[in-house]
Symmetry: C2
Subunit: 374 residues, 2 copies
C-alpha cells in the first residue's frame, strides 16, 4: 500500500500538460513542488512535508522528476509512469541533487517557480547550493490550472458538500445540551466520517460570545441558554473539500439575531445571483458587501466574502476586493458573508458554488434557517 492515489486514466497527464502550457505562458523555466496539495494534484503523491527534501522538479521541456529520500522510495512505488523517481541518501546534499535537474535560463537567470507551501528551508537550501534564479510564486503557474476543475473534481466536490449537508440535518436533531464546543466538533467529525467524508480540517464550533470570533478555536466552553452558535465544517471526498457554515441557537433567538441573520442570508443570496462567467471575483465580494453596508452593518463584516475550494479548503479564486480574476465555468468557491459583534454574537452563512455556463450551481442544499436546539 502506498500513499499514491489512483485516478481516472489520463487525469495526471492532463494536469501536467496544462501546467507546462501555463509555464510557457508565464515564461517559467522550472517549477519546484514540495509535499502539498500541489504535489498530490500533479502526481497523486500524498505525503507530509518533513525536514528531508522531497520535491517534484518540472523543467519546462524535460521529464518531471521526483527527488526524495532513497529509503522512502517504496512509498512512491505507484507514481504515474511519467514521473521519474530520483533518490538521495541521508548525509548527501539533497539540494545539489535537485539543482542539477533545473532548466537553464538560456542566457538569462532562469525563472524558477516554487509551490506556495514549500518550506522556506528548501528554497534557501537551493539558493545556498548555488541556484541563481528569479524566484516566482508557484501559484502564478498552478493557480490558473487548479482553478479550472475537471468533471472528476466537480463530482468529488459535489459528493463532499452533499455529506456536509446531511451532517447539518443530523446535528439539528442531535441536541447539544451540556456539550462543549470541542464535544460538538468531535460529533461533527464522527458524523462526517460515518457518511463517507474524510474527516480532514479542524471544524469550528463557536458558542455565544465566541461566535463573534470568525476563526474561533473550539474550547471547553459549555453551551448555555440563549447562545447563538456558529458551526463551520466540511471534511473531504477523494481529498476535495466541503465547507459550509450554519447557525444554531440554544432556545428562541433574540429578534436582533434574526434581523442580522436575514441580512447576512440576503447578502449570500445576492452574491450567488451575481455569479456568472466574466464577472470578477471582486465584483462578487462587492455585491455581498454593498448589501451589508446598506444595512448599516458594514464595519462588522470583517473578512472577504469567500475563497476557492478544491484539494485545499482555501485556494484561488479568492472572493475579495482587488481580485480581478474573471470567473469561468468550472471554478468553485464559497460565498460566506459574516457579521460579528465583539463580546456578543456573530452570524455567518456559507455555501460552496460552482460557476456554470450561465450562472452558478449551489452545491449545498441544506436550509439556511437558524436551527433552534435545546
Amino acid at each position: 500500500m502506498t500513499p499514491v492515489e489512483p485516478l481516472a486514466a489520463g487525469e495526471h497527464a492532463r494536469r501536467l500538460a496544462a501546467t507546462r502550457t501555463e509555464m510557457e505562458r508565464q515564461d517559467v523555466d522550472t517549477l519546484v513542488v514540495g509535499p502539498s496539495t500541489d504535489l498530490r494534484y500533479l502526481t497523486g503523491f500524498d505525503v507530509k512535508p518533513s525536514e528531508r527534501l522531497t520535491v517534484l522538479v518540472l523543467p519546462r521541456d524535460g521529464a518531471p522528476r521526483l527527488v526524495m529520500p532513497e529509503f522512502e522510495l517504496p512509498t512512491a512505488a505507484h507514481l504515474p509512469d511519467l514521473v521519474e523517481r530520483v533518490g538521495w541518501k541521508d548525509g548527501e546534499d539533497a539540494s545539489a541533487v535537485a539543482c542539477g535537474l533545473f532548466a537553464t535560463g538560456e542566457g538569462r537567470p532562469p525563472r524558477v517557480a516554487f509551490s506556495a507551501q514549500l518550506h522556506a528551508r528548501f528554497l534557501v537550501g537551493l539558493l545556498d547550493a548555488g541556484l541563481r534564479a528569479e524566484l516566482v510564486d508557484g501559484d502564478v503557474v498552478l493557480a490558473p490550472v487548479r482553478v479550472r476543475k475537471s468533471p472528476f473534481e466537480l463530482d468529488a466536490l459535489r459528493r463532499a458538500s452533499g455529506v456536509a449537508d446531511r451532517v447539518v440535518e443530523e446535528l439539528a436533531a442531535h441536541g447539544f445540551r451540556g456539550a462543549s464546543e470541542r464535544d460538538v466538533v468531535r460529533t461533527i467529525q464522527e458524523l462526517l466520517a460515518a457518511h463517507g467524508n474524510e474527516p480532514v480540517g479542524s471544524g469550528l464550533a463557536a458558542f455565544g460570545e465566541n461566535s463573534a470570533s470568525p476563526h474561533h478555536h473550539p474550547s471547553e466552553r459549555i453551551l448555555a441558554a440563549g447562545d447563538t452558535v456558529i458551526l463551520d465544517f466540511g471534511g473531504a471526498s477523494d481529498g476535495y473539500r466541503a465547507d459550509l457554515t450554519r447557525m444554531f441557537q440554544f432556545g428562541e433567538p433574540d429578534p436582533e439575531v434574526r434581523r442580522v441573520h436575514a441580512i447576512v442570508d440576503e447578502a449570500n443570496q445576492l452574491a450567488f445571483e451575481a455569479v456568472r462567467p466574466g464577472v470578477t471575483a471582486a465584483e462578487i465580494d462587492a455585491v455581498a458587501r454593498r448589501h451589508i453596508d446598506d444595512s448599516g452593518l458594514g464595519e462588522h463584516f470583517t473578512h472577504r466574502t469567500g475563497h476557492g475550494i478544491g484539494l485545499d479548503v482555501h485556494e484561488p479564486p479568492y472572493i475579495v476586493a482587488g481580485n480581478t480574476t474573471a470567473l469561468e465555468p468550472g471554478m468553485a468557491f464559497t460565498i460566506e458573508p459574516g457579521v460579528y459583534f465583539e463580546g456578543s454574537f456573530g452570524v455567518r452563512v456559507e455555501d460552496v458554488f460552482l460557476v456554470t455556463d450561465d450562472g452558478a450551481e449551489r452545491l449545498n442544499t441544506s436550509s439556511h434557517a437558524i436551527r433552534v436546539v435545546d
Copy 2:
C-alpha cells in the same frame, strides 16, 4: 479560549532573549517566523499555516511583532506581553505591512532569516513587496537555541516517553489477530490518548514485507502468521514529542530475524554508550554504523542513526554523517539503527536519549525484546 498556551513565567522571555543573542552571533538583522513549532516555541501561539500571512517579525534590536489577519486577532489574545500584535485586513498587502517592520542592514543588504517551515509563498511575497536582503535559513538562529532544552522541556519529554513505554507494554498484551496495520495504528493512538499523551504524529505499523520500508504508510494489510512487525509511535506531552520503535512478531520469530534484531539492538546500545558532551553527532552515527557494517549488514542500514526531538519529532541535532555538532548537556535525540531486506522484513530499535553532564539518560524504559503475539 485561545490557542496560546500558558507556560512557566519567564520561559518565553528567556527563549526570545536567547534567540536575540544567537541573532547577534550570526549577524542576522531580522528573523521571520511563520506558523510552526518555531512560533509556538517563541510565543506559545499554536496556529496552523494558511494562505493568509501570519508571521512573527523579530528585529535584532526592536520589539517582536506578530503580523496577522485582523479578524483573527481574538485568537491571539493571550500572547506574552512582550509580543505586539499587528493586524492587516483582507484586501490589504500583508507583505508590505510586514516589510515595514524589518531592521535595515545599515549600509549593506540586511541578513533576514526565515523559519524553516515558513511557506515559500510568503518568502516570495516579501521579495515581491520590495525586500532586498541576504536570505538565511532560520535554523541558523533557532536550532542552537531550541537544541538546548530547559528543565520544563526535559520534564515534558520524559512524560511523553513514559507514556509511550506504557503503551508498548499494553500493546504486547493486546494481541493483533485479524487486525490491519491501520487498526493497530488506531489502537496505538487511542492508548496514547488514554494515558495522557496528545495523539499527534501519524504512528507507523508495518507487517511482514512492509516492515522493510522504513517509512511505510499503514495500509489495510492484515496480520498473517510469521509476520515481523515494526511499531513506531509516540504522541506528545505539552507538545513535546515521544518517538520509539519496538519489534513484534506473530508467532515464534525466524532465527534470522532474531540474529538481525540482536545486531541492531547492540548498535543501539553501543551508540548510547558513546554519548557524552563533546562527542559529535557524526561520531554517534559512526558507532552504530560501524557495528552493523562489521556484522555484514551495512548496505541494509539505509538511513541516519537518529534525529533530535522536541516540539518537532524531527529536529536538530541530526545524528548523521557529516554533522559536526558537538553534543551538549540538555540535547535530546533518538538513536534508531535499522536494517531492511526488501520484500522480506526489517528491524529497527529506537529510544529517546538526553545528554547529561557525563553521558546520556535513556528516556525509554520498555524492553527492546521482540514481543511474540498471537
